[in-house]
């Protein structure tokens, strides 16, 4: 079989020497694991769409990446997630924007593509569709990570904006290494 796979985990001001060896090893392991998930699907003769979903599911569950669990916070203290998928064989496509309770937004995007007449759904309506379609829902606190929360509060302080309340269901406040936070912000500058 001839298959191929290419993946990104975000871009930013990632410079050798600014990243700790431990953090670099974590990212390399996560990217290898992502390739492994895609290879497992494609080597078994699975479709490109199935490979996309399998790869992104793991990345959406991995707090290292700005997607799903580990997503950054809005100024309102929420995780608002976006995703899209497109099938090159048919030019069918699906997308969702601003969902807050869908564990795997990429799967909801695929459901929009395959099970609706529409291309893009957003916000509350997209989540109603997700529930109707049996897509896995989670409480908003599922996506909470302390380092992203701390990064958001630093941004709001710089902007002179009010801080939102800590989300319901979020874990107890944990200390964060602000040196690490600064590296994180450079590494994932872009959404």
């Amino acid at each position: 079989s001839d298959w191929a796979l290419v993946i990104h985990g975000g871009a930013g001001v990632i410079e050798r020497g600014q990243m700790t060896a431990e953090r670099e090893a974590e990212y390399r392991a996560a990217m290898h694991a992502a390739l492994d998930r895609g290879e497992a699907v494609l080597e078994a003769g699975g479709s490109a769409l199935d490979a996309i979903e399998a790869v992104i599911h793991g990345m959406e569950d991995d707090p290292l990446f700005n997607a799903g669990r580990g997503a950054v916070f809005t100024a309102a203290g929420r995780n608002e997630l976006d995703a899209s998928i497109m099938d090159g064989a048919t030019l069918n496509a699906g997308a969702v924007a601003g969902v807050t309770q869908v564990r795997h937004p990429i799967s909801l995007a695929r459901a929009v593509m395959e099970r609706s007449r529409h291309v893009m759904l957003q916000g509350e309506g997209a989540e109603t569709f997700a529930i109707e379609q049996g897509i896995e829902m989670v409480p908003p606190a599922w996506f909470f990570t302390e380092r992203r929360w701390a990064s958001m509060t630093r941004s709001l302080e710089r902007l002179g904006l009010d801080l939102p309340e800590r989300p319901e269901g979020a874990p107890e406040l944990q200390g964060v290494d602000h040196g690490t936070l600064e590296r994180d912000e450079r590494e994932h500058r872009f959404g």
């Binding site: 079989s1 001839d2 298959w3 191929a4 796979l5 290419v6 993946i7 990104h8 985990g9 975000g10 871009a11 001001v13 410079e15 050798r16 990243m19 990212y27 390399r28 990217m31 290898h32 992502a34 390739l35 895609g38 494609l42 490109a48 769409l49 490979a51 996309i52 979903e53 790869v55 992104i56 990345m59 959406e60 990446f65 997607a67 580990g70 997503a71 950054v72 809005t74 309102a76 608002e80 997630l81 976006d82 995703a83 899209s84 998928i85 497109m86 090159g88 064989a89 496509a93 997308a95 969702v96 601003g98 990429i106 995007a109 996506f143 958001m152 941004s155 902007l159 872009f190 959404g191």
Partner: protein, 133 residues
């Protein structure tokens, strides 16, 4: 942001992108990830692309579909098309970020104008390649 382009053994291309957006964003800002043609595009006639970067620029340039159009209509190879859009056009606008891309023939490209991008690729029977910087 994370993204994938895959080619299956039937010769079909698909692309997907998922993101949490930008830190402390306001007013319901939407970036390029859910915008087909900007952050995600796939066509068996040309290529598939997934993007990451400052979404407003990717939306204005329709980066993903633009790369595929250069491949389909101008006959550029995938790396040249990707570099034209990212290194030349996106950079000239002041935008930043990058893409990964793949053609139905298995040609793979990535291009970014930031100091780094987490990226990985693999083909059937080949060794995995992972890069950060």
């Amino acid at each position: 942001t994370v993204g994938v382009v895959a080619l299956d053994s039937d010769g079909n291309i698909a692309a997907g992108t998922s993101t949490g957006g930008t830190t402390a964003k306001r007013w319901g800002r939407v970036g390029d990830s859910p915008i087909l043609g900007a952050g995600t595009y796939a066509s068996n006639a040309s290529c598939g692309v997934s993007a990451t970067g400052t979404g407003e620029y990717f939306i204005r340039l329709t980066v993903a579909s633009r790369i595929c159009a250069l491949v389909e209509f101008q006959g550029l190879n995938l790396q040249d098309a990707s570099d034209q859009v990212i290194q030349d056009e996106l950079t000239a606008m002041g935008g930043d970020g990058g893409i990964v891309a793949l053609t139905p023939s298995g040609e793979i490209a990535w291009s970014y104008n930031t100091p780094g991008m987490y990226r990985a690729r693999q083909t059937a029977g080949g060794d995995p390649v992972v890069g950060i910087y």
